[in-house]
């Protein structure tokens, strides 16, 4: 079945206002389409100068910045924006397979990095993860999704009051999913954020870890919490 939209099974969470700074018109409207379908509103800027101006003058929830831009390249734009005190989180877009670029982008002040070409779901998931970040992560001591609860201090996890034993890695995986509850989280994001790997281990290792986690938190309960989003990743939905 051909999906009606580019990102299927999207849950419209908080609507975000996203600024897309991209000179390639086709790419810009592709990004716009993906984000609008995910329930966000999009403003576009076609060069670095205008992008920087707009980012400074308007209150956005997230920026999507292409590396190669006319008038002012993405790195410079981000640096200047951050130096001027801009706080809006940014996702840096760049060409295929360039590891060096990732480091440069993050150094320049981007919160996340995505190399082109990317799956629509990957883009939407990462932008949403960014938006959540801006709200700030106050020092929470516990996370909650439905009847699943995680105490970050005692590292105790319970569902409907029943204690669940987790390996340290499983704990971190669940913590990340719970922090992004309601959002789609891709396999690459999990590799990067939970394992801190910037390489692709190929085998479906993440799927296996997820299914082990699922066996622990969902197996004995009627309502599943950990959902697989086809073609995109996973979502913890309370």
């Amino acid at each position: 079945m051909m999906p009606e939209t580019l990102v299927e099974d999207t849950v419209v969470g908080d609507t975000m206002r996203v600024l897309v700074i991209e000179d390639d018109a086709e790419m810009a409207s592709f990004i716009e389409k993906v984000l609008v379908e995910a329930g966000h509103s999009v403003d576009k800027a076609i060069d670095g100068e205008r992008g920087l101006e707009l980012a400074r003058s308007t209150d956005f929830d997230a920026l999507v910045v292409d590396r190669m831009l006319p008038a002012k390249d993405g790195l410079t734009l981000l640096k200047e924006y951050r130096e001027a005190g801009g706080k809006t989180p940014a996702l840096f877009l760049s060409a295929l397979g360039d590891v060096q670029n990732r480091v440069q982008g993050l150094k320049a002040g981007a919160e996340d990095y995505l190399s082109n070409p990317f799956a629509p779901s990957e883009l939407a998931a990462r932008v949403e993860a960014l938006g959540r970040r801006q709200v700030g992560e106050p020092q929470v001591t516990s996370l909650k999704a439905g009847d699943l609860e995680m105490n970050l201090l005692t590292r105790k996890v319970t569902r409907a009051g029943k204690k669940i034993d987790l390996q340290p890695r499983e704990f971190r995986l669940l913590e990340y999913l719970m922090r992004h509850a309601g959002q789609v989280v891709t396999r690459t994001m999990l590799l990067e954020k939970v394992w801190d790997y910037n390489f692709d281990p190929q085998t479906n290792v993440i799927d296996v870890h997820i299914s082990r986690l699922r066996a622990k938190i969902d197996k004995e309960f009627e309502e599943p919490l950990l959902h697989t989003v086809r073609g995109a990743g996973y979502r913890l939905q309370g």
């Binding site: 051909m2 295929l96 790997y197 190929q202 085998t203 290792v205 296996v208």
Partner: protein
Amino acid sequence: MKLGLPTFLRTTTFKLALLYSAMFAAFSAALLVYLYYSTVYYIRNESDRRLDLEFEQLGNAYYTGGMERLSQSVLERMTRTGSTYFYYLEDSSGRKIAGHFQRMPVAPPEVDSKTVYFDFDQPEPDGSMIVRSAAGKFVRLRDNGGALLVAFDTAQQTAIVVRIQRAIFIAAPIGLILSLLGGVLISRGAASRADELARTAEAVMGGELGRRVPVRGSGDEFDRLGQRINAMLDQIEKLVDATRHTGNAIAHDLRSPLSRLRNRLEIALSQPLSQEAASATLNETVEEVDRVLATFNAILRLARLEAGAEGERVRMDVSELAEELAELFDPACEEAELTFKSQIARHLMILGDRDLIGQALSNMLDNAVKYTPAGGAISFTAVRGPDGTIDLTVVDSGPGVPQEARKTVVQRFQRLDSARTQPGSGLGLSLVDSVADMHGGELILQDAGGPPGQPGLKAILRLPRA
């Protein structure tokens, strides 16, 4: 090397030669001029000194014995053998008292002590007269009015000066010619080294990428320049090779999926499609394109890696990474019904790029998981290897790699026929090999010692210990 004159005039050889000879000529000229004047000055001074000595002695005679004693002294001196002096003494009325000359041969100068020059005729024993030149001093006798002239023959002096002049006139052109020759020879040496560089550059531009500048081992500037240029050429050759390989790889591995894609779309176009069939076709198409992109990414990464454009090596604990990867792959093995065992020695340190080493180890583990049939076993160990190395070893109980194929399997896009049905770009082990290379290590493939037909593969990533 044949050069027309105008070309030759522009060469560094010529300019350097010219510069050398000009400098040499200027230096020699200065030296010769100095030599000439200092000699002449010395001779004059010496004569003056001796004249003064004569006057002093004659003066003593005059003061102690008056005119008589003086004339006697003059006469004595005139008859002294080997004397080179001429004397002439006259009284106040200008009458000759004693001396070599008939009369005062030169007009008295305004100042007494000033040297006077004059010519005189001297009779030879054969009766002829020759003209001689002399220089002397003239002193008027006080309280008497007489005058005394003491002079010496300047012929000897003149001869010395003439000899020096002649020497200079002969030496200068010879020196100039020699300096020109020397300049040409020296700069020809330099120019021929420069020519070697130029010829090498031309050959490389002409496509002979393997050509290098000859290095003589003398350690001079040209050798150092040559070594650097050679290092640069090595790097360029490596990059060009990498690019060429990448081109081949792209042609080889991307053509078939792209043709498949094209055929699928062609078929889809040729017949009316239901909504569902169209969706299915497009989904397959997207998957195919994703695979092509993944392969393309892998090729690009490999090329960058081999060109040395990727990776930053830092001191790192490879045991930690191996431990994590073991944990990451353990469930996947269980899922594939494989027994997984890992044994990681603690705190093995290497100088490495964490992402690249991680990718390499993942590729080795992934290979093992993919090619080992259900029920098999995989082991992953990290131990100290021989000669200050660290061995990261993955052993599986799969079909293994036959001896003769072990070399080719690490080359790009080489997959054993039996592996063609498995998904993958065939770049996995090439990448491991490249990563090993970049870290100064090696990838070793061996039989794992299983039963015939199922020997298994033992892949060792051997890295130098930090």
